[in-house]
C-alpha cells in the first residue's frame, strides 16, 4: 500500500491557506485545511469606539468589504435600536449585490473554467472549444468576464465613493442619496452587464433563463439550440459533466443560509426581526427538512486551532480569540471550527438557493445531490437572479426619489449592549457579533463564510466541509491532481492555492 502526503498551499500576501492531503493507493484518506496566517482583527477592535468597526472591518477582505461593512452596521443598529429608511436598505442591497456579482463572474470565468484548458483534457472532444472560450486572456468568455465584471463595482463607487474598503453605511442609513444621476449611471452599468450576460453566459434572454424550473427543463434547454449549448454556461455544464464533476466533491450535506438582502418594506423593524428578499434557514441534510435559522445555534470550536483551548463549542457572544501557536501539536490552523446545531455545515450560493427554494437548483439537487458542478452552477444562476433583482431595486429607488437615505440616530453614541449583523456575502454566511461595555467594544467576533466552509476538525474530531469534500476522492495522477483543483475552486476559496506534492516537489497553482 502506498501512502503519501500532498500539501496544497493557498498563498497570497494578504492571507495564507494550505491544504495537506494524505493519499493511500491514489485515494485521499485524510485532509487538513490550514489557515496559516493569523489576522487579529477581532483583537484590534477591542477597546475601540463602536463605530470604528465601520472603518476597520471592511479591510478584512479585498473582495467582500461591502459585506463586512453591512454586517458591522447591522450589529450597531441592533444594539442602539436604530431605525433606517427603506431607501438606505435599497442602496445597501444594491451595492452588496454588485459586489457579489463581480465576485461570482470572476470566480466562474477567470478561475474555475480555466481548468478545462488543462493539458490533461487534450484528447477530450471539448478541448478546442475550451481553449476558444476559457483560455486566460485569449478565450472569448475569459476576455468578456475580465471586461464586464469590473464594471459591477462601479455601482458601489457611485454610492460609496470607492471600492474596495468603503465605509458609506452608517447607523441610520447611508451617506449618499440615490440622485437621478446615480440611478441613470447604475442603470447604464447594469444594462451593459445584462446584455453581455445574455449574449455570452446564457445565450438567451434573462427572463427565459429565469423561467427554467426543473432539471428536465434545463437539460432540454441545453440541447435545444446551439446558442444554448455553446453559451458559457452551456460549455461549462457540458465540460463539467464530461469529466464527472457532477459526481464529485459533495462535502457535508448540511447547509446554512442567513438569508440575503433585507426587505426594504421591513425598514421599520430592527435587524433582529427583519425579513429578507431571499430566505434564511438551515437545511438538515439527514432529513431533507428546511428549518428556521436560529443564530443562537452557532458555536465555534478551537480543539484543532492555535487558540487558547476551551471545552467544546462557544457561541460568538461567549467567544474567545486568544492566539496560542502550538506548531508541534495536533492543532493545525488559525481558523476556528464553526458549527450549527453542533453539525458541520456548508454555506454559499448552493445552500442559499436550496434554502430559498429556487426550483431549478432544488430539482438538480434532488436528482444528483450537492456536487461540485451544481455548486458552481448555482453561483452562475445567482448572477442571473441578481441582475434581475438589482434592476427591481433601481426601479424602486427611482420611484422614491425624495425619500430619506438616512435617519439620524437620536443618540450620538451607540449604547452599551450586544448585537449581531448577519448578511450573505459572495461566499456565503457572514456574521459579526459585537458587545459594547462602558462605551467601547468589549468583544468582537467575526465568523466568515470561509471559516464555515474551510473549517478544521471540531472537538468531536469531525472534519470541516472542504476537508470532507476531498476525503475519498480518487486522483488519476497524484503528480498533477487537477481533480483537487476543480473541487477546491468549486468552493470559491478567497485565496490562491498551490497544490504541493511533498515527495515529488511538484506544485500546481490554483487561483481563487
Amino acid at each position: 500500500m502506498s501512502r503519501r502526503i500532498i500539501q496544497i498551499d493557498l498563498n497570497r500576501v494578504e492571507g495564507d491557506l494550505d491544504f495537506q492531503l494524505e493519499m493511500e493507493d491514489g485515494k485521499v484518506v485524510d485532509a487538513r485545511c490550514i489557515g496559516s496566517l493569523y489576522r487579529g482583527f477581532e483583537q484590534i477592535l477591542v477597546g475601540r469606539m463602536p463605530k470604528d468597526s465601520l472603518v476597520i472591518t471592511p479591510r478584512i477582505c479585498g473582495i467582500c468589504g461591502t459585506a463586512h461593512l453591512n454586517s458591522a452596521v447591522l450589529a450597531l443598529e441592533q444594539i442602539g435600536r436604530i431605525p433606517v429608511p427603506p431607501n438606505a436598505i435599497r442602496i445597501r442591497n444594491l451595492c452588496l449585490m454588485a459586489e457579489t456579482l463581480q465576485s461570482d463572474l470572476r470566480q466562474s470565468f477567470l478561475f474555475f473554467t480555466a481548468d478545462f484548458c488543462h493539458p490533461k483534457y487534450i484528447n477530450r472532444l471539448f478541448y478546442d472549444k475550451a481553449l476558444a472560450a476559457f483560455l486566460p486572456f485569449k478565450g472569448w468568455v475569459h476576455r468578456g468576464a475580465l471586461e464586464y465584471s469590473r464594471h459591477a463595482v462601479e455601482i458601489i463607487a457611485l454610492f460609496g465613493g470607492q471600492w474596495p474598503h468603503s465605509s458609506y453605511m452608517l447607523p441610520g442609513g447611508v451617506t449618499t442619496a440615490a440622485s437621478s444621476r446615480h440611478i441613470i449611471d447604475s442603470f447604464s452599468i447594469l444594462n451593459k452587464l445584462t446584455r453581455w450576460f445574455e449574449q455570452t453566459v446564457i445565450g438567451t434572454d434573462l427572463d427565459s433563463w429565469l423561467a427554467l424550473q426543473s432539471a428536465d427543463e434545463f437539460f432540454a434547454w441545453l440541447t435545444a439550440k446551439d446558442a444554448h449549448a455553446d453559451s458559457a454556461i452551456g460549455l461549462f455544464t457540458r465540460m463539467s459533466r464530461d469529466i464527472g464533476l457532477h459526481r464529485l466533491g459533495f462535502g457535508t450535506p448540511h447547509m446554512l443560509s442567513y438569508g440575503a438582502y433585507d426587505d426594504p418594506e421591513e425598514a421599520g423593524t430592527f435587524p433582529l426581526h427583519r425579513k429578507h428578499l431571499f430566505k434564511a434557514g438551515f437545511l438538515d441534510g439527514d432529513t431533507g427538512n428546511i428549518e428556521p435559522f436560529e443564530q443562537n445555534e452557532i458555536t465555534e470550536h478551537v480543539r484543532y486551532s492555535w487558540f487558547q483551548p476551551y471545552k467544546g463549542g462557544r457561541h460568538p457572544f461567549q467567544g474567545q480569540t486568544i492566539p496560542d501557536y502550538q506548531p508541534h501539536s495536533d492543532r493545525y490552523t488559525w481558523s476556528k471550527a464553526p458549527r450549527y446545531q453542533n453539525k458541520v455545515v456548508q454555506t454559499g450560493p448552493l445552500a442559499d438557493a436550496l434554502i430559498d427554494g429556487v426550483p431549478l437548483i432544488r430539482s438538480l439537487y434532488e436528482a444528483e445531490g450537492g456536487n461540485a458542478w451544481l455548486r458552481q452552477f448555482s453561483r452562475l444562476c445567482r448572477t442571473a437572479k441578481l441582475l434581475h433583482t438589482m434592476r427591481e431595486t433601481l426601479h424602486e429607488l427611482a420611484a422614491h426619489p425624495d425619500d430619506p437615505h438616512m435617519i439620524s440616530p437620536v443618540e450620538k453614541e451607540i449604547p452599551d449592549g450586544e448585537g449581531f449583523g448577519l448578511v450573505t456575502a459572495a461566499r456565503g454566511a457572514l456574521g459579526h457579533w459585537v458587545q459594547i461595555t462602558d462605551g467601547v467594544i468589549s468583544r468582537y467576533q467575526v465568523v466568515t463564510p470561509t471559516a464555515w466552509n474551510a473549517s478544521p476538525k471540531d472537538s468531536e474530531g469531525r472534519h470541516g466541509h472542504w476537508e470532507s469534500s476531498l476525503i475519498g476522492l480518487t486522483v488519476d495522477d497524484p503528480d498533477d491532481p487537477v481533480e483537487i483543483g476543480h473541487i477546491i475552486r468549486s468552493h470559491d476559496p478567497c485565496l490562491v492555492c498551490t497544490v504541493h506534492l511533498l515527495d515529488t516537489g511538484k506544485r500546481i497553482t490554483v487561483w481563487p
Binding site: 500576501v13 494578504e14 479585498g62 486566460p136 486572456f137 476576455r143 475580465l146 469590473r150
Partner: protein
C-alpha cells in the same frame, strides 16, 4: 490633454515589499504638473486596472525579484515581463497579470513603463526597507521625475 499616471504597488507591512509605497509617499511631497496624478495601488491586483484608464502614459512602480543586483533600478517595458508571470514580488495577481488584462480590455493602450528596484527580502510584518533598497529611493525619484519631464 490626457493625464499621466504614476501607480505605486506594494505592501509596506512586509519589509522591502513596501518599496513602491515608500516611493509613493516621497512623490506626494513633490509638486507635479496638472496632468500628473500619483496613486497608491497597494495590493489592488486586478482592481488597479481602473488606474490604467484615461491616461496617455502610465508609470508603474514596484519591487522586483530576479532582475539584477539588490538595490539596482530597472526601467522595463511590458514586453520585458512577458513570460515572467509572477516573477515580480506578486501583489495579488501581480503586475504581469494586470498588463495581460489591460491588453484585453483597453485599446489603445497608454504608454506603460515599469520602474522597479531589485529588493533584498520580503519580510512579513516588518515595517521599513532594508539599507540597499532604501538607498535606491532618491535615485528612483529622480528617475521618475526625468521620465515625466520629457
Amino acid at each position: 490633454m490626457d493625464a499621466r499616471h504614476i501607480i505605486c504597488f506594494g505592501n509596506e507591512l512586509h519589509g522591502d515589499d513596501g518599496f513602491g509605497i515608500r516611493i509613493y509617499t516621497q512623490l506626494c511631497r513633490l509638486t507635479w504638473p496638472k496632468d500628473v496624478e500619483v496613486f497608491n495601488a497597494g495590493i489592488a491586483g486586478l482592481n488597479a486596472l481602473r488606474l490604467l484608464e484615461d491616461c496617455s502614459q502610465a508609470i508603474l512602480v514596484d519591487a522586483l525579484a530576479n532582475f539584477g543586483n539588490v538595490g539596482g533600478i530597472c526601467v522595463l517595458r511590458p514586453e520585458d515581463l512577458a513570460g515572467r508571470q509572477q516573477k515580480l514580488t506578486g501583489h495579488g495577481l501581480g503586475i504581469p497579470y494586470l498588463l495581460e488584462a489591460v491588453k484585453v480590455i483597453r485599446q489603445p493602450l497608454p504608454d506603460i513603463l515599469i520602474v522597479g528596484v531589485e529588493i533584498a527580502a520580503v519580510k512579513p510584518f516588518s515595517i521599513g526597507l532594508s539599507d540597499k533598497t532604501e538607498q535606491a529611493v532618491p535615485k528612483t525619484i529622480r528617475l521618475i521625475r526625468n521620465l515625466l519631464s520629457e
